[in-house]
């Protein structure tokens, strides 16, 4: 009996130790994921899928795929040219079969390429990312640069006399843009219902495509506006006398 009692008590004390060795799940790990966490997980999942797809495409791309790149010439010699575009340099391989076309669409030669010349180079990309160039066309990069941009903003003010909107970006309220509109400005809803510039109102949230005004600094023209909301405020009734 004493032996049995001893064994009994030992077991009663040993089992807590065994359970204590089992790691207790932390409260954070067992908390139910919030909807915000699920959205974040979804975003991360999509970003990872995107990266995987890009990588697969990069691996699967063959040397037989035609490629065209642009840039300003930074270095040129008999067999290769180095160009730069948006702070990124690329290498071009040229040979006797490479055709050169100047701005006047006339055939020219390699020795006419100078440092600073903008060019469009077409050819085939090798495994090292170097372009085996078959055709080079001279151009002015400023003429091909896309200067349009897109901003999500609220209309802070509408000047009907000068057809100018004052836009404040929704994510950066310290900025503001003077944006000209006219009868050619296309205004639509997100569902592509057509509106007019008269349907715009202050505090309305819009997406505006902007072109810089070449004559006036920090002023833009909007060829297209997408109204993210279309709930114009009701006109205030005139108070009775």
């Amino acid at each position: 009996m004493p032996l049995i009692a001893l064994i009994f008590s030992l077991l009663a004390t040993i089992t807590p130790s065994v359970l204590a060795a089992t790691p207790t799940p932390t409260a954070a790990a067992t908390a139910e994921p919030t909807s915000t966490n699920l959205e974040e997980i979804q975003r991360i999942r999509q970003a990872v899928q995107q990266k995987v797809k890009e990588k697969i495409r990069e691996i699967a791309s063959t040397e037989d795929t035609k490629k065209a790149i642009v840039g300003d010439v930074v270095q040129v010699n008999a067999n290769n040219i180095t160009i730069s575009f948006e702070d990124k340099q690329r290498q071009l391989i040229v040979n006797d079969d490479t055709v050169y076309i100047n701005e006047k669409r006339v055939k020219t030669t390699l020795d006419k390429i100078k440092v600073g010349q903008g060019i469009l180079a077409m050819g085939y990309l090798n495994a090292d990312g170097v372009l085996d160039t078959r055709r080079i066309v001279f151009l002015n990069l400023a003429d091909v640069t896309n200067q349009q941009s897109t901003v999500v903003a609220k209309i802070a003010d509408i000047s009907t006399s000068s057809s100018v909107l004052l836009l404040i970006p929704v994510k950066d309220k310290d900025q503001q843009y003077q944006v000209k509109i006219d009868t050619k400005t296309s205004v639509t809803t997100k569902k592509k219902d057509k509106l007019t510039t008269d349907d715009l109102y202050t505090s309305q949230k819009i997406v505006a495509i902007l072109e810089p005004d070449p004559k006036v600094a920090k002023t833009y023209y909007a060829p297209d506006i997408v109204a993210l909301e279309n709930n114009p405020p009701e006109a205030s009734p005139t108070p009775a006398e």
Partner: protein
Amino acid sequence: MVKELILAIALGAILGFGVTGSYYFMKHNKNSVNSADQATPTPAAQVDNQATPTPEGNLSVQNVDELPLFIDTPINESVVDQAKIDFQGSTVPNSLIVITTPINSYTTTADTSGNFDTEIDLEAGVNIIDVTIVDPQDNQTNTQILVTYSTADF
């Protein structure tokens, strides 16, 4: 004797596990209730995707937190021999996609799966295409791709 021994072992184990298990079960439930009350939502990503004017008046978009965007076609730096091409890809569902080319601008909306598909016109030669995504929370991501329209044989 052996029977009593086995019985004692079994009873001791049951009692020990039962008491201790109950204690941990109750403690676990108490902690779960407390953590559910105190759970703080993950703060939304701080996005500052807005255009900042440069001194020359050109806008450059700063993307602090890029939205996922995958463009199936056209492929960046590709050469095409048609003036009208499909512009397909995927991004955040129900996002607005704004595409600007040298000659026109286009808007479309991603479906509930995030897929979008529209047709755009190219001008002969170099086309630097600007693509902006605006998700339902007004977050914005921008990218550019280069597509050359040329029928030259090389």
